[in-house]
Symmetry: C2
Subunit: 160 residues, 2 copies
Amino acid sequence: MRQNALFQLGTGLGTPGTARKEDFAIVSPAKVQAEERDDHFVVRNGVRCAGAHLIVDLYGAERLDDIDHIETALRRAVDAANATLLHIHLHHFEPNGGVSGVAVLAESHISIHTWPENGYAALDVFMCGKADPDACVPVLREAFAPTNIAVSELLRGQGV
Amino acid sequence: MRQNALFQLGTGLGTPGTARKEDFAIVSPAKVQAEERDDHFVVRNGVRCAGAHLIVDLYGAERLDDIDHIETALRRAVDAANATLLHIHLHHFEPNGGVSGVAVLAESHISIHTWPENGYAALDVFMCGKADPDACVPVLREAFAPTNIAVSELLRGQGV
């Protein structure tokens, strides 16, 4: 499967360009062996679970078509949560300028999907271990200046 | 930011190895220009929204440490949903053999995080446009043979 072509492109589209953005690195075996998932189950609000999954909606938000700004915001959110970034990928869509981005973490992931024409962004912040997903919220608020932000929390893997 | 090193490796860890797995492709400008996000708002259960976000929990599941099997399952789920895969990344953790994987789609994303030692996997399936996230569920059921599967649906971006 590793050699499969990745991109399954649409057909019959004649739209303006889109850009793909990705950071990756080849990691030496020695470094790979130093990596570990922080997958300890957590107790959150008295509930033992695999991790806390925040569903975050931004309304009336700004800069949702700025892929560099979005990458910076994701990286800041990862740092604020004291999480460990393993991989980040962002994709810029046309014609609306929307961005889809995912940060894969040692503690799970952050995703963002933006609709700039609506001032709307849908994120989720899933973190296990010692990372603090709540710490991402002020970073997102500062980065995208939403007029309204909604956060709900799912405690995943209860009773496992 | 594009030249930044990606991996922020943990320190002081002496654990067995971990493997990173990723498919990517260099896309020619002509092909890049043929790509477009299917970001139409949808009406689901009578509610207009940016997309349907399924929160999927698998309990008593099998093969949660098999990264090739998990990649195949994700690709099958994408196909079943009639979605378009843009990028896929999976990460294999040690010592527990857990896998974190994300498929970035033209219609949003699928993520999976597994805890093989607990038979537990946390997924989310977020799709906008014409893709059918519900079609992923039987694929996941077949792939991982869970004794129990819980699916809840969030309609993201209502009222936007």
